[in-house]
Assembly symmetry: C2
Homo-oligomer: 196 residues x 2
DNA sequence: TGTACATCAGTGAACGCGCGTTCACTGATGTAC
DNA sequence: TGTACATCAGTGAACGCGCGTTCACTGATGTAC
């Protein structure tokens, strides 16, 4: 017996967190195993003690978001399970479509940072992204359902509006236009929750 | 004088069209110069007679969409400049958020196929994407403006909803859920144009 | 309590392959006369 | 009209580098006695 299992798990978690940040910044293909391991203060060779492939790391990094950095993000955004669902949904929209989130390259939601990397990954990785979306949609569905005819349609559309608004804002070289589309998506999403 | 200039321009156009399709299918980094040139029935070496770099080709491929494959796409979708703006917008929404568009890997809008490749490209490439978005937004703005308080906000939100809905639908491994989000985005976008 | 030993997380060099880019060369085209 | 010539689009081999993955080795940790 060398080391305890906790030691290895901590190392694994450090690798995943390093990867999550680097993928968010540079995309899946823009990041090397070297970069990931250096970010975790380790050297290249040890990587395959923890993962079978770079793709497997991709899945782990995305999966880590919900309960890891995403939980911190939700706390900062004031998304609180103790609140009524409608308030949670409003806080979620406000935080997700905020300019802080747009500038937060390290902490942002992976659906914004890596949409096309996601679409071209294997099914395990895509399932990890799907879980993020499902979580977001059910939060909206709860928040919107109280006095709404089609809560599910509205919840799915809110998710599309949130992700789409941010993905586009990220792409545009004209930062004024980027802010404009982010703000427009925010206002429209807000209107979809409060009224009718 | 060897050849006429028209010959070279035709070759260039073939390379761009080959690249556009391949980028749509495999992403920018998933495509090699070899693949592009083979798709244009040429060999590797000649590429640099036409472009200075792979990035420059990326910009050219995206720029080609509006007046090239995108014009065919609009015709198929029944988006017609002769129609009243509101009808154009409705046709656009219907075509963009259709399941045919979701399945059309070759002919799809590059904003759906390549969102994260776009965000990490240089400013020329990102400007090419921005032009696609600006065209889409102004079409919606015209179509929505007639009896609307905030036509610009609505137009920008419609673009975010269209792109976001399709990007997410592409990513999800569960094709039922993918269809559900595409349809939800379609219904919501349609409601945004017809009423209030 | 101290010592020998077994385990395996971590190291760093090396492998092998792919790909963007370069370059000397070829040959089809159009011009000059 | 026919022939020699100049141009340059296109060819295909080669270069150089980077990166995912492998592997023999090291050394820190925990166990056995």
């Amino acid at each position: 017996m060398s080391y305890n299992t906790e030691h290895k798990q901590r190392t694994r978690a450090k690798i995943i967190e390093s990867a999550r940040i680097l993928f968010n910044r540079h995309g899946f293909q823009g990041v090397t195993i070297d970069m990931v391991m250096a970010g975790a203060e380790l050297t290249r060779g040890g990587f395959y003690n923890h993962f079978n492939s770079k793709q497997e790391l991709h899945g782990a990094a995305v999966s880590s978001f919900l309960s890891g950095r995403g939980a911190i993000w939700r706390a900062d955004a004031g998304v609180d399970r103790a609140d009524p669902p409608a308030r949670m949904a409003r806080q979620m929209i406000q935080g997700y479509l905020s300019s802080e989130h747009l500038d937060d390259l390290d902490g942002q939601c992976p659906m914004i940072a890596l949409p096309s990397d996601a679409a071209r990954s294997d099914v395990e990785v895509r399932s990890a992204y799907q879980k993020l979306l499902v979580a977001m949609v059910s939060l909206f569905e709860d928040g919107v359902g109280e006095n709404e005819a089609e809560p599910r349609q509205k919840a799915l559309s809110l998710a599309a509006l949130c992700v789409g608004g941010m993905v586009l804002a990220r792409t545009l070289p004209d930062s004024t236009l980027a802010e404009e589309i982010r703000e427009a998506a925010y206002l429209t999403a807000s209107e979809m929750v409060v009224t009718q």
